[in-house]
């Protein structure tokens, strides 16, 4: 197999990039596109720091061969903030104190966003399950759970108002 130029949707824009069969999507994002918001904590799918949303699902970018991105719809942390400002998850993470060292935060937000994109009234257990693949060593997860619950409330309130998020 040889290098191939593929295209995919990245944070709502179509991008084209040459990738080799040995590369993982995380390598492409971080090393070639310099989107370093997606973090590398282990490279083996164990820590969740590189979580992105891949065709609507939270996935570890370190485990996705770059070739598989062909035609995919990919969201990274860089695409979460909109022209209107921070996403409710970002606001909630800041306001509840869910951010400490910040290295797990992008992946944590992407896992939570994949959940809230589908379910705006998640139970505590559903929140815990959604972020259970994301290791955080600073917070004990307490304020992270609070942040996701809080963001869900904001999203529901915004949906009632017909807001665009």
């Amino acid at each position: 197999m040889t290098n191939q130029t593929i295209s995919f949707s990245l944070n709502g824009e179509i991008v084209e990039i040459a990738v080799s069969p040995s590369e993982m999507l995380l390598d492409i994002l971080r090393e070639k596109m310099h989107l370093t918001g997606t973090k590398r904590g282990c490279g083996k799918g164990e820590c969740g720091a590189c979580t992105i949303i891949f065709n609507g699902k939270a996935m570890n970018a370190c485990l996705i061969p770059a070739m598989r991105a062909k035609g995919a719809d990919i969201q990274t942390i860089e695409g979460v903030e909109s022209a209107h400002g921070l996403h409710p998850l970002q606001q909630s993470f800041i306001e509840t104190g869910a951010v400490q060292c910040g290295f797990c935060t992008p992946g944590m937000i992407m896992s939570a966003k994949a959940l809230l994109d589908k379910n705006k009234s998640p139970s505590k257990d559903q929140i815990r399950e959604a972020v259970s693949g994301n290791i955080c060593r600073c917070t004990g997860y307490v304020k992270i759970e609070e942040a996701v619950e809080d963001a869900a409330v904001r999203l529901r309130a915004s949906a009632v108002k017909g807001g665009d998020l």
Binding site: K39, C42, G43, I77, F93, G133, Y141
Partner: protein, 779 residues
């Protein structure tokens, strides 16, 4: 109403937007033009001599730009941790490692490093390096390593009358007459406990990027907790003036928990060495496995507690002994046993005490600082023994502790005062939260699920003094537009100090936080500071910043006084506006604020700092405050309560709830303090139940990934009730004490006491894994 404008408020973190949007830059994100990528060849043997090393094939590989091994590396002996630079004059430094040596002492020890145009080429080059080893005998347990027949890890170092392989001085803390105290005791309990290797597992692995300019000046982007001391150690390793080296964080650091103190795992000097050879920037990012096996761990070891008490429960004597494994290199091995002993002795008022402790070299990963720094080990041993004493005396463990805890102003073994303690109140609130009065009422005969409650108490430091060299400096510069710039040498390793330190500056200056910028974690442009560790950043760097801000404020008010025609001490700054203390905001015609000249003419008495600073600026004057302090120390306190359930069929321990009540002095930012309490609780739960690195008979680490080193996940976490019981310590900035580490000191002790309460079995070895618990309950 709070008496403060900024202190004591849960101000939102200033790094929040950067860290939630992916904009925040970490060392592992750094990318420089022409940058090379490095990889390290590591020893597969726990102890061996390198008979020969041939790097010629690696050097020939296209893309390889530099190779370093013991043959061409610097030959200056050092200690990768900060005792290299911060050992107090009364003690001798233990310098026991080279960047690359011809002897390797643990599986993972650095043998050689390569810099190449890609990581893949560097990895390929490592395969081409030929190394011939002469295998040497190895030893993995600290007690075994002390025996006469044990191999000597560092020739000529550590042979003492008490045993082999003991680096540094043996720590002895005498306090009155322990033999007399034991003789006067009605009940004596003596037990030995075995503590495991715990790993920090900070989320960003150890990493560095080094760049050398044409004049030989070096810049190192680093994950260090201690930029200034790290710079000094780099200078000694390479025999380069420290002033030619700049160490900085970019600015974010993906967690620390002690592992970033000094140059643990040597990413900085290896990247710097290769950059010096290649004359190109070099980036070295450790894999998670490398981080597990090659960066400092918590010290494992054995702790014996002998506790004597009167029949009524009054403690009479405490005799404590520790033997801690420090791994292949000393790191903090000479200092940590002292903190282990001192913090354990300080919990209770015991008239007669004695501590004897040291560490021991073994052929394992170096052990150094991890959050708590020896204290969780000592606390576990002590707090199990206190519960045993309570059982023996038939006294409720809460009651027994209440009777014996240290009181403010009472004598103790430490060289600083116990100025404040709200431990009794912490115990009251924690007991109430956990429902302590339900203790012993849960279990029905024949039940396979046993529930129990347990507690533990402890203290820690707010600073590193008197255990190491310890002073802080800070600058506060008032800009000509009335904003302020603060410079402090501490980095923010995730604990929020880049926010809380600005709160301290804002409160002192009377200036809004938005008008204050902070330079931190960068040796260029900040004065010397020993760094972010020992729960000291807010307490000690905060004291220096407060002093610098007071100095700047004094200069501002002295300048203003001439216009107000009153003494400077009768002026105040509030939200960037200067007024007499006695007056409320007065009006000038129009804006409500006056020009200085109008004030002088008696036409008003309010002027902005902006107006004043600009007035001074155009007259060639700037207000620059300098803080130079030697911080004292003060004890934070913690009472931890655990509610647990043990499944006797599987050995699984589930923590239902943890109530953690803390006296941190004044909480400068309560939300940040809660985060410290909750995070420490999670690490304490891991220490109690699942986290452990073990070694097989070949000296290999059996846990080296998040797959087999069991960290708590969101689904493992119980309800955590963090309780802040405020006191105001006279020594800390606005009454603050340390908050970073105390949270990890007591949880494991409390959980084990709860497990003992549930099952009747006391664990003298942790973690209480399902295997260990199942075996204990079914033997």
């Amino acid at each position: 109403m709070s008496q403060f404008e900024y202190v004591g408020k849960s101000v939102l973190r200033r790094d929040g937007v950067d860290k939630t949007t992916g904009r925040g830059l970490f060392t592992t994100d750094m990318f420089l033009p022409g940058m090379l990528f490095a990889k390290v060849l590591r020893s597969p043997h726990p102890h061996a001599r390198i008979v020969s090393i041939d790097t010629s094939e690696a050097e020939k590989l296209p893309g390889v730009k530099a190779v370093m091994s013991h043959k061409n590396g610097p030959k200056n002996l050092f200690n990768a941790s900060v005792p290299m630079f911060l050992t107090i004059p009364q003690l001798e430094r233990v310098l026991d490692q080279y960047l690359f040596d011809d002897v390797v002492r643990y599986v993972g020890d650095e043998v050689a490093a390569v810099a190449a145009t890609s990581e893949a080429i560097a990895a390929k080059a490592l395969e081409l390096i030929k190394v011939e080893y002469e295998i040497l005998p190895a030893v993995f347990d600290p007690l075994e390593a002390m025996k006469p027949e044990a191999p000597e890890l560092h020739a000529g170092k550590g042979c003492t009358p008490e045993g082999k392989n003991i680096p540094g001085e043996i720590v002895k803390i005498p306090y009155h007459d322990v033999e007399k105290g034991l003789a006067e005791s009605d009940v004596i309990i003596e037990e030995t406990y075995k503590l495991p290797v715990q790993k920090q597992v900070q989320m960003e692995t150890q990493a560095a990027v080094a760049q050398v300019d044409g004049n030989g000046d070096v810049t190192v982007w680093s994950t260090s907790q201690t930029p200034h001391p790290s710079r000094a150690i780099l200078g000694k390793i390479f025999n380069i003036a420290a002033s030619k080296i700049r160490v900085l964080a970019p600015p974010y650091v993906g967690g620390g928990f002690g592992v970033r103190i000094g140059l643990s795992a040597k990413a900085e000097p290896i990247a710097m060495g290769l950059a010096l050879l290649a004359k190109k920037p070099v980036k070295l990012v450790y894999t998670r496995k490398e981080d597990f096996i090659a960066s400092d761990t918590r010290h494992p070891g054995y702790i014996t507690i002998k506790l004597g008490a009167k029949k009524d429960g009054t403690f009479q004597a405490l005799d404590m002994k520790s033997v801690l494994g420090t791994g292949a290199y000393c790191s903090f091995g000479a200092e940590l046993p002292g903190v282990c002993g001192a913090m354990t002795l300080a919990i209770y008022r015991i008239p007669h005490q004695r501590y004897h402790g040291h560490s021991v070299y073994t052929n394992t990963t170096s052990c150094g600082a991890m959050r708590g720094f020896g204290n969780p080990q000592g606390n576990y041993a002590m707090e199990q023994t206190v519960d045993l004493m309570a059982e023996k005396l038939g006294i409720d463990p809460l009651e027994l502790r209440r009777k014996n805890i240290m009181k403010a102003g009472e004598p103790w073994c430490l060289p600083y005062a116990c100025g404040t303690t709200e431990l009794a109140e912490c115990m009251r609130q924690g007991a109430e939260s956990i429902g302590w009065d339900r203790r012993g009422t849960f279990n029905k005969p024949g039940s396979t699920t046993l529930r129990g409650l347990g507690m533990a108490v402890g203290t820690h430091v707010s600073n590193a003094w008197p255990f190491c060299v310890d002073y802080d400096n800070a600058y506060v510069t008032i800009q000509p537009d009335g904003s302020a710039h603060v410079a402090s040498g501490v980095p923010d390793i995730g604990t929020g100090t880049s926010t809380s330190l600005v709160q301290i500056a804002a409160e002192t200056l009377g200036l809004d936080m938005e008008h204050i910028s902070l330079t931190y974690g960068d040796t260029l442009g900040t004065p010397f500071d020993i760094g972010s560790h020992a729960s000291r950043t807010c307490y000690a760097a905060g004291t220096a910043i407060k002093a610098a801000a007071e100095d700047a404020r004094r200069q501002v008010l002295e300048y203003a006084a001439g216009f107000f025609n009153i003494a400077p001490e009768h002026l105040q700054i509030h939200k960037g506006v200067i007024t007499p203390v006695t007056s409320s905001m007065d009006e000038c015609s129009g804006s409500g604020l006056c020009q200085l000249e109008e004030v002088k003419e008696g036409k008003g008495n309010t002027v902005t700092l902006e107006e004043l600073s600009y007035h001074a600026h155009v007259r060639n004057k700037q207000f620059i405050g300098v803080g130079r302090i030697v911080p004292p120390n003060a004890p934070p306190w913690h009472a931890c309560f655990a509610d647990v359930e043990v499944d006797t069929r599987t050995g699984q321990v589930r923590v239902i709830k943890l109530a953690a009540a803390h006296d941190v002095g004044r909480a400068i930012n309560p939300m940040i303090v809660e985060g410290q309490i909750e995070g420490g609780a999670a690490q304490g739960i891991g220490y109690a139940l699942s986290e452990e690195i073990t070694y097989n008979d070949k000296g290999r680490q059996q846990q080296y990934s998040m797959h087999n080193y069991m960290l708590p996940t969101a689904e493992d976490m119980p309800e955590i009730h963090s309780i802040i019981v405020e006191s105001s310590d006279p020594t800390g900035p606005f009454g603050a004490k340390g908050a970073g580490e105390c949270s990890l000191v007591c949880p494991a002790s409390a959980i084990a006491n709860a497990v003992a309460n549930a099952t009747g079995h006391r664990f003298k070895e942790i973690p209480m894994t399902p295997e260990r618990v199942f075996k204990a309950l079914n033997s």
